[in-house]
Symmetry: none
Subunit: 386 residues, 2 copies
């Protein structure tokens, strides 16, 4: 199975925007059993887009292209694909209704120009876009005129904005691929998410015990990210399930308390889920993290049931006025100190009547470090029963 | 002048690593006048690397490839290029001396395997690597056997690690390009960043007035991102400066108050810069944004001089206790309402003695919407002199 990716966008070629689609899509595809063999980025212009499409379609069973489906004059993909495939563009009434509704709900007039997004090449499947106006398109080329062997290929077109592309890929493209282009061999992949250990230490602990399984074909991968390391175990073929299952057990035995999720659940989601189940509430007092903790937690649907409030108390005045930190303590120990972290957590917990509270105060840099408290010094306070 | 980029790396194709070379190199090249017309990523394997090289060399005056120059078994580029070009690999004594010195300075034995990095295809220019052991290579193909017209092309190979690639590009590649392949025409590019208008409306306002300039060669691009739309105007040739300058003036006239930056400055950085210059302070009261505003602002170095505090008041209790919002107002109008947004902004401003305050209360979804206040309803409060 040959899978290729095309990202269109002049802003990519000018280096104005980081191409995050490449990693995100490759990752998602790998997780469901497809390996991307080539990724191409071209500017928003007819000849390079059509040339990239032709070349990819000549080789691939599946081509996924991103960008160029919006309403502006540099959004060319829809028309270029229709021309390349010799298919007529027709206005799709359900897409048009969705676009109209999108603007109605927001009490905004629908710009005439957005209507172009309702144009669909004949025979294309429409992939709904709940987060924007441009639908995705999935087109089966059967036969694929660009392939010498005349076999069929799928062409999937996705809108460029990540918050539109990502849910569309998960909700519409993955089910379509599973149905229409199942991965050729059984592929099982499991990700165990850990916190509190560096990746070299994790490798020291698990690589040895896993060696018999890796010799039998288990793929083992590590992905270090800020605050966590993902351990990925994967296998293909008839033995895949057994290998991955045994590997999971070994990793659990070696890293037990450091594993917070099996799968894609984020640390913040685990916290919200567990607090919700226990009917407990949380309050946050942040200094150096500047709202990051609150932001991560409130990104989880349902967080409002557990997170009462977060206070970003950057200044000493704010720590006193909003959290009740004592001026004397601030003066004696400094804002980045254990007593202040303690008073921040206890203060926000008491003021809000929360069951638990967490505080962070530290020196994030680049400035502000001293010899006694270098950049990177952080105190974390926890109030309430752990 | 045709410039193409090839990034090699199986980790890229599995989505385990973000490809930052694409943006960084495209940006650097654009800044010195070269536009990349295609970027390709392929896995670490002979056939895809050689195929990508052949295709790029058939089209381009300059091909820059990254990765695969290290010492491990998946570093194939050096040998593949020598084979593709029919050139012998010879050990370069100065490169070998550099590798030996690299390990000597660090008091580490030189792994035998690293010696392979001293192999250089005959006729290649060596680009020194002060930050690692793999040198870069620049090869002039004269004539280029892959081009029908037999013209010359340059092939530049760079090591994958960004801290090796970036200084090598700036110190060795840019001077070589300026000398050997001076940019054919003047290229000017300007980005105007806007907030508060959708991209269709922006196009409605500016495309007409800019039409005479686009007819004269101005390139116009739009890039919609959460909360902002970038408008890019670019031109090449002797008239480039005039076209871009006139286009900037027209865009300013049409979108005046919506433009917050000319260039790469982020919205949060503009706010911090302007408040710092005016010696004014800011306080935030967030509900549905859940700390995002505070997080974006505190990500800007120097934000602590202007941001006194941010309160993420998710619950009604927090709005009352931390911000002084009246219980009666909450009951009468609901948490998502104009009076509550007003009291949140005024409350946080008064409690902290800030010069300005901003509040946000809304229904972010997915749950919580009603017929009267559907998901997406947001009230923003501003307190203090605007």
């Amino acid at each position: 199975m040959v899978v290729e990716l095309i990202n269109t966008g002049s802003e990519l070629m000018l280096g104005r925007v980081l191409n995050t689609h490449q990693q995100w899509l490759c990752r998602q595809l790998a997780d469901v059993g497809y390996e991307v063999s080539r990724q191409v980025a071209v500017p928003d212009a007819g000849p390079p887009i059509q040339q990239a499409m032709r070349e990819a379609l000549a080789r691939a069973d599946l081509v996924i292209a991103t960008g160029g489906l919006g309403p502006t004059s540099d959004d060319l993909t829809r028309a270029l694909i229709a021309e390349l495939l010799g298919r007529t563009l027709r206005e799709d009434p359900s897409v048009l209704a969705h676009i109209k509704e999108f603007f109605e709900i927001r009490n905004r007039p629908m710009p005439e120009r957005t209507r172009v997004q309702a144009l669909v090449p004949e025979g294309a499947n429409v992939l709904p876009n709940p987060h924007g106006t441009a639908p995705g398109l999935a087109i089966k080329l059967e036969p694929n005129p660009f392939r010498g062997d005349g076999a069929a290929s799928w062409l999937v077109l996705l809108p460029g904005p990540p918050r539109e592309l990502r849910p569309m890929f998960i909700d519409s493209v993955v089910p379509l691929l599973r149905r229409e282009l199942p991965p050729p061999t059984r592929f099982i992949c499991s990700t165990l998410r850990t916190a509190g250990l560096g990746e070299s230490i994790i490798q020291e602990r698990i690589a040895g015990p896993l060696a018999p399984l890796t010799a039998a074909g288990l793929e083992l991968g590590y992905c270090a990210r800020p605050g966590q390391v993902d351990v990925r175990v994967a296998a293909r073929g008839p033995e895949a399930e057994r290998l991955v299952h045994q590997a999971e057990q070994i990793v659990h035995t070696q890293l037990y308390t450091h594993i917070f999720a099996n799968g894609d659940e984020e640390l913040a989601a685990v916290i919200v889920r567990q607090l919700t189940a226990r009917k407990k509430t949380l309050a946050l007092a942040e200094s150096c993290t500047g709202g990051l903790m609150a932001h991560e937690l409130t990104n989880v649907p349902g967080a409002s049931a557990v997170l009462l409030a977060g206070v970003v108390a950057y200044s000493n005045g704010a720590k006193q006025k909003l959290l009740g930190v004592s001026g004397a303590t601030l003066e004696q120990h400094g804002a980045v100190s254990e007593p202040v972290a303690r008073q921040m957590a206890e203060g926000v917990k008491a003021r809000l009547g929360a069951d638990h509270a967490v505080s962070v105060t530290g020196i994030a840099g680049p400035g502000g470090g001293t010899a006694a408290k270098p950049v990177g010094t952080v105190f974390i306070g926890v109030a309430g029963r752990v």
